[in-house]
């Protein structure tokens, strides 16, 4: 059982963000539902006046209403908050002396991490299900109540719920690896779009440099299915529905382990595990080199392929070397406590 003192403290720390998240969910689900009910009823009335019932039949036989409601662009704001909550739970403590006070208390570090994880995950889940429940009640009480027959808890809520938990869990994992809040939030956002972003950079590299590569279709599909924001926006997993749940579990387990084994004397630095520098530095340089190449190559006309390749490599070297020196400084930086 989690110590009451811990989850109360963690909840108090994130209460403000949960209020914001609740407002986003309220706007996203119940308010959007009301607006969509009005819109749909208006369309049905116009259709009825014309003596048609195509839209009515469409709503009665498909889950179009729910899919539209769930894939609203409000995801973006929710996504940002889901990345900030772990930053406040872990990163803000690392920025101040609070983390040291907490690790000096009579608790296992795993318990400290699990308390934060549970508070975040339960808070997000309760707000999500409350807001969606409210939306369901509004729909059920309206003239459009027949669309509730098309609503499936598993089909419509499993994916957004597990994806939100996976985003939160990724933020928590970053918090267990990174030494301060701002870097934690930025790295969480970067790694959220990393699979698709990196794939785009690699594809540009392949195309511009004329490297033959087969099987792009399944690779693109796979990349799309592991890029969490795309899952939220798209909502169509084609059999990959288990991925966000697996990601949540993996991030939670690895996060707990790394939080417990991190060396707290590195708080305030970019990475808590110095061994990760070996992967991080070349990784950043390669990504920025690919980005530099892509940007530089876009200047050249598409017809002049040789010129494009030259510009690609100039851009790659320039941005790659810039990234090398900046990242080295960043890795030596300590944004932590003033002492």
């Amino acid at each position: 059982m989690l110590p009451k003192a811990l989850w109360k403290k963690d909840f108090k720390q994130t209460k403000g963000l949960f209020i914001y998240l609740g407002l986003v969910f309220i706007f996203w689900f119940p308010i959007q539902a009301l607006l969509r009910i009005d819109g749909a009823l208006e369309t049905l009335r116009e259709e009825q006046a014309r003596g048609e019932d195509h839209h009515l039949q469409f709503l009665q036989t498909s889950s179009y209403f729910w899919e539209q409601l769930l894939s609203s662009s409000s995801w973006l704001l929710a996504l940002l908050l889901l990345a900030v909550i772990p930053g406040v739970l872990i990163g803000s403590e690392r920025n101040s002396e609070t983390h040291h006070v907490m690790t000096g208390l009579p608790f296992k570090r795993q318990t400290l991490f699990i308390s934060k994880f549970v508070v975040g995950a339960v808070g997000i889940s309760l707000l999500f299900f409350f807001a969606i429940g409210l939306a369901y009640i509004f729909v059920a009480q309206s003239e459009l109540s027949f669309v509730t027959e098309q609503f499936s808890l598993l089909e419509h809520l499993w994916l957004p719920w597990t994806t939100m938990l996976a985003i939160f869990a990724l933020g928590m994992l970053m918090g267990s690896l990174v030494g301060e809040m701002l870097s934690q939030i930025v790295l969480t956002l970067i790694f959220l779009i990393f699979p698709s972003g990196f794939w785009l950079l690699v594809r540009q590299f392949i195309e511009i440099n004329n490297i033959p590569l087969g099987g792009e279709q399944w690779q693109a599909e796979f990349v799309g299915n592991v890029t969490l924001p795309l899952i939220l926006l798209d909502g169509n997993m084609n059999g990959w529905f288990i991925i966000p749940a697996v990601m949540t579990i993996v991030f939670a387990v690895v996060g707990t382990y790394s939080y417990a084994s991190a060396k707290d004397e590195h708080n305030g630095e970019l990475l808590l595990f110095k061994k990760l520098n070996v992967i991080f530095l070349p990784g950043v340089v390669v990504c920025f080199a690919l980005l530099g190449g892509m940007i530089a190559a876009s200047i050249a006309p598409h017809s002049q392929q040789e010129f494009q390749v030259i510009l690609y490599w100039i851009g790659a070297v320039l941005l790659g070397s810039g990234a090398y020196f900046s990242t080295r400084r960043l890795l030596q930086m300590n944004r932590g406590r003033k002492k």
Binding site: K9, L105, F107, D264, K339
Partner: protein, 291 residues
Amino acid sequence: MEVRNISKSIQETEVLCDVSFSIAPGTITGIVGRNGVGKTSLLKTMVDIFRPDEGEVRVKGESIQINPSAKQHVIFVSDVTEAFKNESVDHIVSFYREVYPSFDHAYFEELMARFDLEKIQQVKKYSKGRKALFALILAFATRADFVLLDEPTDGLDVIVKRQMMQFMVEAVAENDISILIATHRLDELETLADQIIMLKDGQVEARYELESVKMQYQKMQIVYAEQMPEEVIEKVNILQQSGRVYVCFIARADNETKQAVEKSGPLLIEELPMSLEDLFIAKLGGDRFAT
């Protein structure tokens, strides 16, 4: 509380090397050493904020590395008072009450009144000294058996500092708790500490019972007509030299050195009252201090 063979490296520099000592109940122990010698790191390692590379810390027979709940008997007060700065006094107290089952709320209220510290909505609104005082009050109110303090009187004004020192002596005498103080303020330790642990290069250089150390060493003022002979300089610890006047530090049992001094024909030999600071300079910086 027992520190067993603790070693710790930070940024590839060994800050603690095979440190071992124990703290008996009802004592005040001072940890002294020059800047960067590892005093704060040692205290943080003693509550497992910093994980030791080797060794362990045992409290009442249990290793805090294996069983962190043993830390219920220990509290560490950092010299940085930034934690929970946006929280109210009441909220912090309620948190500590839940973490430390032995937290004594009545004692907390009594100490707040004694040190004339008002309860406020955000701890960050306290002055630096008041933040430090609040942290100390909170620590003692947990009724932990071992209180580890890092530069505890930093920022306190002279009157509160005296009151706090008086309070610490009372707390040890009345409640049989143990206090470990890492500080540069040797004058304060002199009136408080039962034992002194000197750290040098991350190692325990020496450990003294303060009462006995004054029996073991003598501080001597020696005046020569010319300069102190080389053979004597090699034998004594010179704390200070002003022209032909030398202030030296000699072990009371070191008869060989005493005879060498007497044979060197000084104009005057006089014993001076010895302070902890003299011992500190002689042991950790005497050779560099003297010119």
